[in-house]
Amino acid sequence: MESSTHTERPARSTVATLAALLVIAATGLATGACERRPGAAEDAGGEILIGMYGSLTGDGASFGQSSKEGTELAVEHINAAGGLLGGRMYRLLVEDDQSRPEEASNAVTKLITQDKVIAVLGEVASRRSLAAAPIAQRYQVPMITPSSTNERVTEVGDYIFRVCFIDPFQGEVLAKFAFNDLKARKVAILKDIQQDYSVGLTDSISKHFAALGGQVLPPVSYTSGDADFKAILTQVRSQKPDAVFVTGYYPEAAIITRQARELGLNVPLLGGDGWVGDALKNGREALNNTYISNHYSGDNPDPIVQDFVRTYREKFGRDPDSIAALAYDAVKVLTDAITRANGTEGPKIRDALARTDLPGITGRLKMNAKRNVDKPAVIQEVTYANGEVKFIYRTTINPG
């Protein structure tokens, strides 16, 4: 339909205008609808206000949902058992960061400056924890991240703590499992360059796998939100690896596994704890022959684990994942610290947190000098049958 038109403007200027408008349309991506509810300015009385920020919506919605549920359950248990500091109750304030780092720092700023919370819990994704941590540090409000594994998160400052293992260890665990148990000698790695978590984990896997004597092909990059991985997977396939690590988060991992199998790339795929999310199930049958490292296994017969699994299932009607378990542990650690500090001032809680040592659902929670905990990791095999993803316990690998 290249028929002419009787307008007064030549085509060239219109096309130039279009190019400019295209840029405007593209930047529309960066500005989001942001929702604000009025700050809770009223006097909270004897209640102890704690804040949680997380990705309740967006790409990481499963992370945010699980964290929120784990946190709520812990708060409920503590309040039901008589509260803390002589009968004071927790009140939990939750902020959604829409899976965006800039919203994570906004959420924490609001929780601290408007809501006046005494401690902050969150995030799961390291990139968002890294965005928010400097704010908690500046206001001297302790922050506990339940499940950000990138080692730089707690390096932000002495008010930032975590209750999970870190990626240098997780990478070692995955590398050892691939080399010793799967007998892989040549591996490829797919990394999400937008996520600090994925980049850190990739470095760690490369380092440890090479140290074991294996060959690591140059990592291939993608970005969060990508949906077509066939070009990079075809390239990976041509290098004939024995196993492929996918170090990003579950939404992409689901599609990558599927497209890998569609291309006939049937070697084992491995991922970190970032694979734990409900949308992983969309990998379907392709998920068979994949393995992940994880924080805890719900099959553990220890009563502390089984009590948690049972009460969680009663309240939310589903089995808790490791993200929920870590969120629960984070509240326990905070409660223990407030109790020992016998007060709610930031510096006092901080000092008590640094001396944490208590049993948790995800293992012993003993804070080290870097405000991390040294915990074992489990390797789970992922299976898919009848529309359900199951994580089957394979082995536990201890640090050191």
């Binding site: 205008t17 529309g28 609808a33 919506t57 790409d59 041509s238 199998r261």
Partner: protein, 299 residues
């Protein structure tokens, strides 16, 4: 060798997706000289309409070809209505203003659908049900899925179908007349309002079909999915020569091949940048695109 062939297949599959959307862009432009920036978002709405219909029919558990056809037709119907509404409410009131006004309106509609979509559907990505069991055909180390094959076939059929409608039917003649000169077409007794509404209905239905097809192959859908894909399809339409139907196909396939080629190198994350660099180059060197004819534009 099989890697190279596989990459060509990957590029074709991706290119067919862009082509399918670019066809709608180009048709609306051909008739109205309006870049309908909301086209990519209608594609998104098509995928969501398909998602809700497919789940209502419980197709994830019971995949069927008939169900897939029903879902596609349903989504096309929903989007045809949405397309007509968009034209009636947003574009028609500004039709006789300058072209820039229509363009800005189109961007407004696009943003409304994207962020309205986030309010209604939520920002969390959803996964499209697998209405057709995925099958992989293998030929000498080269793999293609039935879903990707379907997209390529649908894109080619749609291209020929559109060519036929525009050049061989009475309504097509009316569309061309409207495109040539709206006022004179009206004087000749053509109901131009109807023709324009029809153009939008057709374009939007095609976008919806594209949305459902793509969601079958790449099952992740979210309210912003139309943004980047829509922009790439726009680049494809400009590359092929905007307003030119076979050009949209050629442009789509070229962009798909190019992206795949970039992804296969170690510069994989520069993929999007390259697509837009191509847009700038075309605008500088050959604004009419590969198959467009610049001369007739400047009557």
């Amino acid at each position: 060798m099989d890697t190279l062939l596989q990459q060509v297949i990957n590029g074709l599959s991706l290119g067919a997706i862009y082509a399918l959307i670019a066809l709608g862009y180009t048709m609306v432009y051909g008739v109205l000289r309006l870049i309908n920036f909301a086209h990519g978002d209608v594609y998104m709405l098509g995928a969501f309409a398909g998602y809700f219909i497919a789940n209502a029919l419980n197709l994830d558990r019971n995949p069927s070809i008939l169900g897939t056809i029903l879902v596609t037709i349903g989504a096309m119907g929903v989007c045809a209505i949405i397309g007509v509404l968009i034209e009636r409410l947003a574009y028609r009131p500004v039709r006789h203003h300058s072209r820039l006004t229509s363009l800005i309106t189109a961007i407004g509609v696009s943003l409304l659908l994207e962020y309205g979509g986030q309010v209604v559907f939520g920002a969390t990505p959803r996964f499209f049900p697998q209405m057709i069991r995925s099958e992989t055909y293998s030929l000498g180390g080269v793999q293609i899925t039935n879903q990707n094959l379907l997209i390529i076939v649908v894109a080619v059929v749609v291209m020929f179908g559109l060519e036929f409608i525009v050049h061989r039917t009475k309504i097509g003649k009316a569309m061309r007349a409207t495109s040539y000169n709206l006022a004179v077409a009206k004087l000749m007794g053509i109901n131009t309002d109807f023709i324009i509404a029809f153009t939008f209905a057709l374009g939007s239905a095609l976008a919806a079909a594209g949305g459902v097809m793509v969601a079958l192959a790449i099952p992740r859908i979210d309210p912003l999915m139309g943004l980047m894909t829509g922009l790439k399809a726009f680049v494809a339409a400009v590359l092929g020569g905007i307003g030119n139907i076979p050009g949209a196909m050629v442009g789509g396939v070229l962009i798909g091949l190019m992206e795949t080629w970039i992804s296969a190198t170690s510069y994989s994350t520069y993929r999007d940048a390259v697509a837009f660099a191509v847009l700038i180059l075309i605008l500088l060197l050959r604004p009419a695109g590969i198959m467009g004819t610049a001369a007739t534009e400047k009557v």
